[in-house]
């Protein structure tokens, strides 16, 4: 059964009735995993200064712990030179793997939506999307704000963030 394109039976409150469907402003969207991945990567790259800050803080903590370890090592006269090099390499690899895994999960978090489609619509008052299950969501223009844009997508916020 093809999805309904709006209509007076759509849920969504008064807005749906005040602004009947304009078929010309409706379009179909299918979940695009590749576009999501490119968009997520572009978003994280745009946040490079946050990564840099986290990296500096992490470095300071590791340096402090290393200093503590070295002072303890000199106290107990334990040869930790090689151990320190190993620990540094291991720590760096651990952070790198964690970072790559974070990026991978972030980029594929919505992949359970593969194969899903929505009908989207622009009305004078709302941006509307309707899933194939018939649930329709109306978001008023006046509370929508573009937070980030890439060549693939926008991240929009609407209302209060939790």
């Amino acid at each position: 059964m093809p999805p309904r394109i709006g209509g007076p039976y759509s849920a969504g409150g008064e807005g749906a009735l005040e602004h009947p469907v304009n078929e010309e402003s409706a379009y179909r969207v299918t979940y695009d995993s590749k576009a999501n991945q490119r968009h997520a990567l572009a978003y994280h790259l745009s946040q490079w200064w946050r990564w840099l800050f986290a990296w500096v803080v992490f470095g300071l903590i590791v340096t402090g712990l290393a200093g503590l370890l070295l002072s303890m090592g000199s106290f107990i006269r334990y040869p930790i030179g090689k151990l320190w090099q190993f620990a540094a390499a291991f720590g760096f690899a651990l952070v790198l793997v964690a970072l790559l895994e974070y990026l991978r999960k972030s980029a594929t978090a919505a992949d359970f939506l593969i194969g899903k489609s929505w009908t989207c619509r622009l009305t004078p008052e709302h941006w509307v999307y309707e899933g194939d299950d018939g649930v329709t969501t109306h978001i008023p223009w006046k509370i929508m704000t573009i937070e980030y844009e890439s060549k693939d997508a926008w991240i929009l916020s609407y209302g209060a963030s939790v």
Partner: protein
């Protein structure tokens, strides 16, 4: 659309909107931070 985004946020694809010739209208209506 990405329901896993935190808070009341979502991802909207540009290409389908561009293909429908609605991108300009969308950008006119939505505010940009």
């Amino acid at each position: 659309m990405d329901p896993l985004l935190r808070g009341q946020r979502l991802t909207i694809y540009r290409k389908p909107m561009q293909d429908a010739g609605l991108e300009e209208e969308f950008l006119t209506r939505v505010s940009r931070a």
